[in-house]
Amino acid sequence: MKIHEYIAKDIFKEEGISIPKSKLAVSPEEAKMVSSEIGKPVVIKSQILVGGRGKAGGIKFADNPDEVYTKANEILGSTLKDERVEMVLVEEKLDIISEYYLSIVLDRSAKKPLIMASMSGGIDIEDVAQNNPEKIIKYYLNPLDEFLPYHGREIAIKMGVPNSLITKLGAVVCKLFNVFQKYDATVAEINPLVVTVNGIIAADAKLEIDDDALYRQKSLVELEKVNKGEFAYVKLDGDIAVIGNGAGLTLSGMDMLKLYGGKPATFLDIGGGSSQENIVKALNIVISDPDVKTVFLNVLGGITRADDVARGVLDVLDATKHKVPIVIRLTGTNEEEGQRILKEAGVSYETSMEAAAKKAVELCKDII
């Protein structure tokens, strides 16, 4: 399974690999806003899974927010290599000193992980491999051995990096190998790996996961699934997960939280006509996120039925021993039935969005 760049970058960051300042955007307006926040020239990168997106026009540079709007508008909704672009990553443009290449793949014939690294990184690495193969060093890892920092340094030395970078680059190799192992990757690649005055930064992130290992990579599967259109899901940096039915309502729920001093951890729009099963999925996505301390479920049923939502909530509460409180706002279609189901199970609920948002913020404060 291929992983989107922005998810791969979150994973890299978690393992301690530096990534550029960046944020996902689904509209030109949003892209413009993000670039204003970043406050410097940016790169707009289409979030698609097919390779060679740069050469196909899926990566554009912009110097100011207006230019960001124009270029994001060109990319979003366009079709690159048969894949429609629904999201772009707006990312600070790095001041590049040099571009390296680093990848870990599964070598089928050696039956081992293979690290390839080069000081000649960038989009033309295939040409380097073809014409100057000596510039790419190869290093096999023993799958039974622990990968230690000195392995990383050996690779850095073989690459020929300056002395000042040997330890730093070695550490990046080590961390990328941790990603490779922890996530059952078949490919983990950074190209280019950029040297800047501020350190070594992964300007791109490519990650592919072994399909046979998905049973033990459930959180990653959920993250990718929601981006295949089941839900609109964006991870944010707060601690209260916001789930709503409909984008406007979900956004509004986030605004209400902020109003009462809370910080949203997610934007998760379950869409119209969500089933009991969908509610369960959505709740499981957010409660498996260690950053989430409270859940704010904001439902005003239209096609979505309140009784389905109530049953979904009970399923999750019954099935998990988790201690993440869920604050529920439940009204709309079949609300009497939905509210009765919750009441009978001893689960409290609110009928106004504001009241629920306020309660969520208070609960979350108590937890900290």
Binding site: L106, R108, K111, P143, D211, R216
Partner: protein, 286 residues
């Protein structure tokens, strides 16, 4: 014959599962020397006349065992394989969908312990007249002097059946497995057939994906004197799509059927265009 011979005495790991119990009976019906089974927590029970133990160590206290066949589900297969490798000379891993990181560890550990691994994701091994450690139907095999090695299951049956129908038979037939990483590979098996007095010719059945066939071609050129007939499946497969087996995906030029066929022909291997040509080609060569 190779690997599986009259000295092979086997334990079945995961014998109480549906697959394990069914195929144990089939293997016994084919007179294979299955002497025990393991299933943690079910030691002391029996399946038919076969005793079940909690561990291989326990089974070895009562029986002389040197091989294992593994039917344990994928999430637990690495554990089972390590248990076998630590104490036995041969492990046949039937289980499919084992995470490839687990398989890499299994293969490396087996190398250290000098244990032979067949699979994972394999139909197993059969030496007609001696027995089978695997899940293949037996009526299509016949004692003979053709060695067959293959990455696929049913295609192997197809070819074995034609060899049998043409009046010949097999010394040993091995499925090396359809996963990206497997234990024994083509070259290992071909070398053993080369060294085996009962094998006069070899059939190698490959498919798209990876470069095992290209490596085998080079190996044949250097080390194999007996005639080899090959067949490669997937000439019309599109690139970038996984075609059933985890290992069968065209990535780059070396994994296409065309590249494999060219490499084999350059090494003096007779490449059949259709499975039905294989038996005739062998008749001409031996």
């Amino acid at each position: 014959m190779i690997i599986l011979d009259k000295n092979t005495r086997c334990v079945v790991q995961g014998i109480t599962g549906k697959q394990g119990s069914f195929h144990t009976e089939q293997m016994l019906n084919y007179h294979t020397k299955i002497v025990a089974g393991t299933s943690p927590g079910k030691g002391g029970q029996n399946i038919g006349e076969l005793p079940i133990y909690n561990s291989i160590e326990e089974a070895k206290e009562e029986h002389d065992i040197n091989a294992s066949i593994i039917f344990v589900p994928a999430p637990f297969a690495k554990d089972a394989a390590f248990e076998a490798i630590s104490q036995l000379d041969l492990a046949v891993i039937i289980t499919e969908h084992i995470p490839v990181h687990d398989t890499m560890e299994i293969v490396e550990y087996a190398k250290r312990e000098k244990t032979t691994i067949i699979g994972p994701n394999t139909p197993g091994i059969i030496s007609p007249g001696v027995g089978k450690l695997g899940i293949m139907p037996t009526h299509i095999f016949n004692e003979g002097n053709v060695g067959i090695v293959s990455r696929s299951g049913t295609l192997t049956y197809e070819v074995a059946n034609q060899v049998t129908d043409s009046g010949m038979g097999q010394s040993t037939c091995i499925g090396i497995g359809g996963d990206p990483v497997v234990g024994l590979d083509f070259a290992d098996v071909l070398q053993r057939f080369e060294d085996d007095d009962n094998t006069a010719a070899m059939v190698m059945i490959g498919e798209i994906g990876g470069n095992a066939e290209e490596i085998a071609a080079k190996f044949i050129n250097k080390n194999i004197t007996k005639p080899v007939v090959a067949y490669i499946a997937g000439v019309t497969a599109p690139p970038g799509k996984r075609m059933g087996h985890a290992g069968a995906i065209i990535e780059g030029n070396s994994s296409t059927a065309a590249s494999k066929i060219e490499a084999l022909e350059d090494s003096g291997v007779y490449v059949a265009e259709r499975p039905s040509e294989i038996a005739d080609l062998i008749w001409e060569l031996i």
